[in-house]
Symmetry: D2
Subunit: 414 residues, 4 copies
């Protein structure tokens, strides 16, 4: 027996690749489609509309196909409202709960499409019927471990509409559209100039800049340049790990990173113990802020973050030495802190850290601009492969990237 459903899509369906993905999904999953209506946007600024009936030999295949189409923005013709089921216990969701994408999303509740707040992928979608102060319904995402008994959880995609990002109408920007692949064959300095331009534009618009930084920023000698950007007010939030903070503080205390003097290149010996002594000094002081206040730490990224009231999250990991007293050792607690930063960010600059960048990326909406920089192409590819509407991936050396970026950003200030 053939199972069928009719769905509708609208938007810049062709140039955003939406129709290609939808047709491809139907064929890959072994179904078939009938195009009932297809009104193609006549100009580049006109949207298209498509009504499509998809069929499959069994209900499960049809469900899989509809799942794919849904994630690409398709809505059932004549959708019913969202199905809500109360969570049976804390952290326990109903069996068929709707798991979110990272795209802007709406739910059809009580006859109206309402926006879902705090967009983030792989979450439960909670509706509070009178969640707003005016008694109107409110919808937002919750991670599984934040679900509380009784939360009303969406359990079917039929009343949910996803709005994947569309291809920007103007071309030629260094920001690519939903491209997982990354090419090393781009002019490096020109691309950095584009990032600098964007960074300045975001700040001029009063936007929020989040930097995610790995320890290689310090080892590669780029710490001073990042500190300069912080001091000049170009960084609103810093998300890093115990390793980054430790190596930055080591530079302030001993002038070295992993035992090497980053300016003279002297004493690059593995045996040096500066990093563990640094941790010990900060523990003794009672934390980074205390160490800054006591005059123990007098320069560097962490110093500038304290001095400039940058929202700083140091998330712990199982490979940490110490850790520093400021490090949030619980992964769930650290995720929540990162989540707040990510939701506030207008642009996120990810510098040479896979772990922290993935953690941040997990919390980002597909509409947040991202810049991913790493010497390892696999890292950049993995970070870009999330359907971000505007993303720049650069396979480059962080040790020359950050100083060049700082120069381009700050020269306009002079």
């Amino acid at each position: 027996m053939t199972h069928s459903r009719t769905v509708e899509l609208e938007g810049h369906l062709i140039d955003s690749g939406t129709m290609q993905r939808c047709f491809g999904a139907v064929m890959d999953l072994g179904g078939s489609f009938d195009v009932e209506q297809f009104d193609v946007g006549k100009h580049e600024t006109e949207e298209s509309y498509c009504r499509l009936t998809v069929s499959a030999d069994d209900a499960e295949t049809l469900r899989d196909i509809l799942h794919e189409l849904h994630q690409n923005g398709a809505v059932l013709e004549n959708p019913s409202g969202v199905d809500l089921v109360a969570a049976p216990a804390d952290k326990v969701v109903p069996p068929d709960f709707y798991s979110t994408t990272n795209h802007p999303t709406e739910v059809l509740y009580d006859g109206e499409w309402i926006d879902v707040e705090r967009i983030e992928m792989d979450c439960a979608l909670v509706v509070e019927p009178e969640g707003n102060q005016d008694g109107s319904p409110r919808a937002y995402t919750k991670t599984l471990n934040a679900v509380e008994e009784g939360d009303l959880i969406a359990t079917d995609r039929s009343g949910v509409r996803v709005n994947p990002p569309e291809r920007p109408r103007s071309g030629g920007s260094a920001f690519g559209f939903m491209q997982g692949g990354v090419s090393a064959e781009r002019p490096s300095e020109s691309t950095i100039r584009e990032v600098a331009k964007e960074l300045r534009a975001v700040k001029e618009d009063g936007g929020n800049v989040m930097v995610v930084a790995g320890p290689a920023v310090i080892h590669s000698g780029a710490g001073d340049a990042l500190a300069d950007l912080v001091a000049a007010g170009y960084v609103d939030a810093l998300s890093a790990g115990n390793g980054f903070a430790t190596h930055d503080l080591e530079r302030s205390l001993y002038g070295t990173s992993l035992g090497m003097n980053v300016e003279t290149l002297e004493h690059p010996r593995k045996g040096h113990k500066h990093h563990i002594w640094t941790i010990s000094e900060i523990i003794r002081a009672g934390g980074i802020e205390a160490a800054v206040e006591e005059g123990i730490v007098t320069e560097g990224v962490m110093y500038e973050c304290v001095e400039n009231d940058v929202d700083t999250v140091i998330a712990g990991s199982i490979r940490d030495d110490g850790p520093l007293p400021d490090t949030i050792t619980d992964a769930v607690e650290a995720q929540n802190a990162i989540r707040e930063q990510a939701h506030d960010a207008d642009i996120v600059i990810m510098l040479a850290t896979l772990l922290h960048s993935v953690a941040v990326g997990n919390c980002l909406s597909s509409t947040t601009k991202t810049v991913c920089v790493d010497i390892n192409p696999a890292t950049v590819t993995q970070l870009l492969d999330r359907g971000s509407a505007q993303a720049i991936g650069m396979v480059t050396d962080i040790g020359t990237f950050v100083p060049t970026l700082a120069e381009f950003v700050l020269e306009g200030d002079a």
Copy 2:
């Protein structure tokens, strides 16, 4: 002043990404478009048709846009025949010569669309008005250095039609469609099983299998498995370099590769001179075939290629030791030999060599199946990034890939 032209496209325009690329090209290049007509294929097996007027503020931009659309299969409405200009001298083409893509191509000559033979990218397109035995016109590609004075060379895209490969109608194969990116997150053994299945299928259909192999095949201990495939008749053509051949012959003469016994792992010392002694022995014998006949070489890939009359091309490079007497040291001559192999191949397996794989890939039509295997993801990405209709890219260890492939291919023979 606005400049405009109208073009037509037909085929599986949406799921093959053709329309997305065309609309994107217009916008990226700063033009605009009007869709005059768009008949969308109603089912997955029905083709679409689009008539489109593109406009730009200046003639040069319009030309750039039309160039892009042409390469994606667009044809001017009411095309005129191809413009032909005689080459003024050997190796010299007319200034505005048409440079080919790697997609199937036709030229409109004397009122008829005729197929272009020997499809290969970045070539001149030559038309012989009475080139066929029956006096009918013939069209084919020629590399720049093969152009002869007086050749009639196509100089304008208006009478040329390109047919980019379309998305296969059935999904679920390991072969991807025009995807440059490659994911390491695939089940390795299952993918190798797919390659084995394809290899057997090509041979069962009487097809031609070409293998391109780098020296890592031998260092990694996979030489025996490749020799087994040759001996069993699964390799029709081998394209390799002086390094591959030398290391394979070293195994036969000394049991080592770069001085290491590949079975016992003994004596892995850099100082060993087996490879240069091997070259010296083969020079003394007068070549590989002579060395096989004299009983100096008694096993290995080169041995099996001689014994099984495999079409073998050993192309030289500037990093070669020796080289062996069989190595074609002139790059143009070697390219021509590789070109013959590539044009005959129905499937090409590229094993751990960027240089030789690129050389072969340059000569391949986009309709030839390709399998690219390398431990370096950047190599696989670069090789796949050519718009091949059916390609498998694997980031894996050649030292386990070839033995596993041979096992899967040959177990069906038992």
Copy 3:
């Protein structure tokens, strides 16, 4: 004014590279040396002895030089006993505390050299004067965050002797000696056979095998082979993360990994939500063991670990979805659990995970055998770069490595 000290070294000083590193350290740091006595071992089994006076222009340089020599096994002539200072508070060490290496270490306390227990790098060295049941002194390492007020902490290297691993007397093994670099030019199957041989030897000697595994083991289709090794008793401890466990459980619940059927290669779509549904199911069941007992999970690595009482640690990270109820989310707590596993291990097999492998590696003595396998050469290099006495690094595909290893290990059992 010249500052000088005399030190002594003994052992296989030349072939282990000890003297080369010591002379190099003196010169790199700007000092000079006088060899007072050098008795070279006359045969490969005889140890050497060296007495050396090192000098520098200032006290700080001399201290740095002595620090390096100490780490390579040098002891001051006529050493005084270890200096001990009580920790002033929990987690706070004395300013000049001695930070440990990962090499076997002794302290000179009360006129006797006593072995330091629980060898691990970057720790404090604690002496309990009557720590043993018989009232004799005991020495062991403590991480900074485990230090308690009043612990007697070593504060000077003068009474500490480090014994770096020496080159094994017999050569030709696949296990390399203290080599950070790793070559891809080794025969893959032969090297895997060596690992298999070693694994069987360790188990035959009643030894403890620890496996550290990343999610790529499952994505690449190698989960079944690892489960077979667990079922056959070749794995005593498993150290992994929430991602590994989730993807393994997804295979048992849905037959997929990241939404792709690892055998048929079907449905490789990003949108699939199996992994988050899997986490939800395990939360509902109350944990992995409960899910196995309820018959929800019926196969895979986690299943076999439960069934075979394998010591399993699932350590959390900030990139985790969920997490599973079994995941230890606190980094310090997770480190402590990993530390117990690492201290018990006789051989550690690290499979395609940088984060967990580094965490485990941090806790390992340089005398523990390690095998590091990853497709990314930089990962293998980083993991090997720790002065391990016996280590194998392989740049290979985990998806073919584990099945081949399992075949080689288990075929001897048939």
Copy 4:
């Protein structure tokens, strides 16, 4: 029966690692040694001397051991003169011919040690008894394909002495000593500053700077900076391929590289045909120099090389488009041209090309300073892994490296 021989070594045997390698070789190959005498240099400036008897159970093992020791500088006690055998035919060497290392080498001929000229590895060693104008003997290397019938070829290592480079007496330089491994964890700008300092020092001493450049230099936008270095006289020889030259010339002719405007980042489309049109234009002009003279090419690296009489070699490969008329398509002929450049160079800067760098590296003595820069760590490791006495390896982005280097080099000129 035990076979034994006695050898002698002298020099900075310990800190250069010579003794470690020699003892290791004996043990790895299954032999044993007796140290007859070992006089250790008492200070860092004093050389050591060692006389050593090595033994093995069979003659072949002893020969292998002696081969290794020889390559590390050991000489048989009471060496006989070199054995010379006439080459039986062109390109054919005697069966047991001595194959050279890349270290400075001497032969004992007629009772005197004479220096071997044109040091290069894997060559035959030819002695001309009256080769010098004054009738004295002369020794030099010849590649196999350059050997002529009657050449007197060394056939035994007994009369040959190799002098491996020794560890420089002063430390702290960015130039590493014989280190194959390369760490990305170095401060990038500081290291580039060291390279700049070295480059200026070589030129101030009247030395010869050779640059080996791949096409990524142009794609990444670094062409202008390299052209500046050429124009300022910092480049004496350029070794590149057809691809590098074509992309550089494309920039001059069209302002693009692979179709992308490297400054505005506009029009990055694969379809662009500028590179093939560029080749066609240069063919039409008759070559690069002619194109410069005709005013067709007016800027860029090739332009500056013509204007500044830089010794330029463009070597062909099988992946070339065109090629340009200037490209040497025969691999042996190209090698010979590269060989002349390499032998003249005092420092070689290798920029983002594996093929050309390996070709150049094959011709270099171990005493030539080398700087290897590539974004791929495997490339840098492979290039450094040749026992170079002074080498810097950098894993960095060529697109920021070259401009930064040019800035540091040229700022001193201002």
